[in-house]
Symmetry: C2
Subunit: 403 residues, 2 copies
């Protein structure tokens, strides 16, 4: 077969496709990979490459020099598009000062007041940082507009971002109740269900709801998710973060693609999610200090666990996805292999792209990261460090600190 991209010298080619190699990560030692027009066409042992692949003369050639190579990382839960600076609020909270202002509403205020171009510039800076960590696909939620026009605007800004990192869009009109509806939260639920969702069209692929104590109730979330399902949107739910309310079971009953947070989820919730095949997206950076999501219980019930930064200006301002994986090991008791699947294959599943990304196998996108390390374990062991030496997106080298 023909190839216009070829990777050689992978000491460990971590396919995240168990059938292709050793162990849960499907590791091929002394591996190689070939792609054609941005899609992987061949993976295997480098010794077999020449006999099976015809490399075009002008092909992109990447030498991993013995390092570990992984699928491009996938961050499946971010609040990418926002404006405003909540560092002072963060510092005041740590000083124990009573909360005068702040919270999601502060970001809503600042975001509404910021023009499209400036919002895009802020989002692009964040995508640059994601890319620097080896991330090649990011999910991005709206939810700081909270009017029909503003929510559509945030999704449009996300859709217009020109960047090597792909952005997958989720509508989160039901993030919090905006101040205008303080006296009529049900009215806002009606606006989201009957006004916003039918107008989303191609602007988003998923609909998310924050269903929790202090956010939307299970009944309110159900109304919103029914409307979303009627419009053909995939379902995501922020669930069981501040209290156990039954949001996870609701998500499972809708066959949600993912249910996110889960700090207060129970064994029954895990059971329901295991049956519905909903991916659990855990966010250890957003719950530092605890309580932590019951990752081992979820895995024990067969739930696929993804990990994400939860990039947002309130509870987790970070684009460092490998650090989320390291915290998944240290705080959620995941194994290194589980944590790596959590930012590749399972993260892809959490945005309904299980075949397309998050793995290195025939038919998947040629998105990959060459580590400056011999083993994929270093990604979680050498925590906080940037090990992304070369980042490839769609068969082109787009970033990395160099080998």
């Amino acid at each position: 077969m023909k190839a216009d991209f070829v990777l050689t010298g992978a000491g460990r080619l971590v396919t995240c496709e168990p059938g292709l190699g050793e162990g849960p990560l499907g590791v091929i030692e002394r591996g190689a990979l070939a792609a054609w027009r941005g899609e992987v066409v061949w993976v295997g042992r480098e010794a077999d490459l020449a006999g099976e692949v015809e490399v075009a003369p002008d092909a992109v050639e990447v030498d991993a020099r013995g390092s570990a190579v992984l699928p491009g990382l996938v961050d499946c839960h971010t609040h990418l598009v926002f404006a405003g600076d909540r560092a002072p609020e963060f510092a005041a909270r740590l000083r124990g000062e009573p909360r005068a202002t702040g919270g999601v509403r502060e970001t809503v205020r600042a975001t509404r007041a910021t023009g499209d171009e400036d919002l895009a510039a802020l989002a692009l800076e964040r995508l640059d940082r994601f890319l620097s960590w080896g991330v090649t696909t990011v999910e991005a939620k709206s939810g700081y507009g909270l009017t029909l026009e503003q929510e559509r605007r945030l999704l449009s800004v996300a859709a217009g971002l020109r960047h090597p990192v792909d952005v997958v869009r989720t509508f989160l009109g039901a993030h919090v109740v905006p101040p205008e509806y303080d006296d009529d939260p049900e009215g806002y639920v009606t606006l989201v269900s009957e006004g916003m969702i039918p107008s989303i069209g191609q602007l988003a692929e998923f609909c998310d709801v924050w269903c929790d104590e202090g956010a939307f109730s299970v009944d309110q979330a159900r109304r919103i998710l029914r409307a979303a399902r009627a419009e053909g949107l995939g379902i995501k739910v922020h669930a069981e973060q501040t209290a156990r309310t039954g949001a996870a079971a609701l998500a499972a009953s809708f066959g949600a693609v993912s249910v996110d947070h889960l700090e207060h989820a129970t064994e029954e919730d895990a059971e329901a999610l295991g049956i519905s095949r909903t991916v659990a997206v855990l966010l250890p950076g957003a719950s530092l200090g605890g309580p932590y999501a019951p990752a081992r219980t979820l895995i024990g019930r067969g739930v696929r666990v993804a990990l994400s930064t939860d990039l947002n200006p309130g509870t987790s301002y970070s684009e460092n996805l490998p650090l989320s994986a390291a915290l998944g090991c240290a705080l959620l008791r995941l194994t290194a292999e589980e944590a790596i699947l959590g930012i590749t294959r399972h993260a892809a599943a959490a945005i309904a792209r299980e075949r397309a990304i998050g793995r290195l196998a025939r038919g998947a996108a040629c998105d990959l990261v060459v580590l400056g390390a011999a083993s994929e374990v270093d990604l979680v062991y050498h925590y906080g460090a940037n090990l992304a030496a070369i980042v490839v997106k769609g068969g082109r080298v787009v970033g990395g600190a160099g080998p």
Copy 2:
């Protein structure tokens, strides 16, 4: 006064010298700084710079473009010089596999078997990473040699490192009992006290002991620290990490410069350390998942708290010191200001360099970091991210990702 280095455009010049500016961090807004031959000669408002400082025509000029500027960061507790790869052990431990090999002794084995040049190359890579995070001074312990010759060799390798980051050397012969002394731990204590310490000379400035359950007893540590004091070495103690043994009180009684770890320290320990003026060095990255050191109790008793990565191949493989500060906020409940003092001024105090580094004031070294952010709070708020835009050591630009 004359200057051969001048920094302008500091939106916030964070001096870490309370008397020089606002708040506990001594912040000067719209600040500037001048230095001569590597030493700060003037700090103040930029508006006053021209009237007070005569800038040499060939001076190094750095424009902070409105960003926050901090003292070069100080990592006061690292195990910098080692060889071997314990990523597989890390992964096996997470999988719950019974520990067959590994631990400090595995690193001792690998380090002893590695030549000086390779050891230095590994340490230099780590210093490069420290520098990339804005760190300009690192303390480095021996402790993976555990024979007279090997311990001297590790200190010599550390002394020979040519790198912009300064390395402050600590002798840690009493790290663990080496396998050769399994049947005679007291014999090893004698070797350390009577054989090694008198031979250290200028190779180290401090002597450290791991005094804990599973390491050296309080009585053994006392013998070692007496020998160290007799040789004029400063005292440091790894204390109360795995259990409460009285090591912190021992350190206080010796007037130790620092006592490190303290996960199991009590209120009485805090009281003793407050009286002895010993700096508490806390290592949140090494105790992820808990228990955590009682930082607020220590601070309540007037103890200065420093934060460090504890860079080592077993429990904390990271050079990301700003992340240690962020974890200090999230897990140890420090304020942003306390955490920043913990990696600047108080970290300098933990290596007996309180006047020389870790602050930006007349007479201190011209070591500083220009952040790619408007506020010093971003260093802990925007966690995991690399915000070191420009790093200056001794009045020369030596690193950083660029403004």
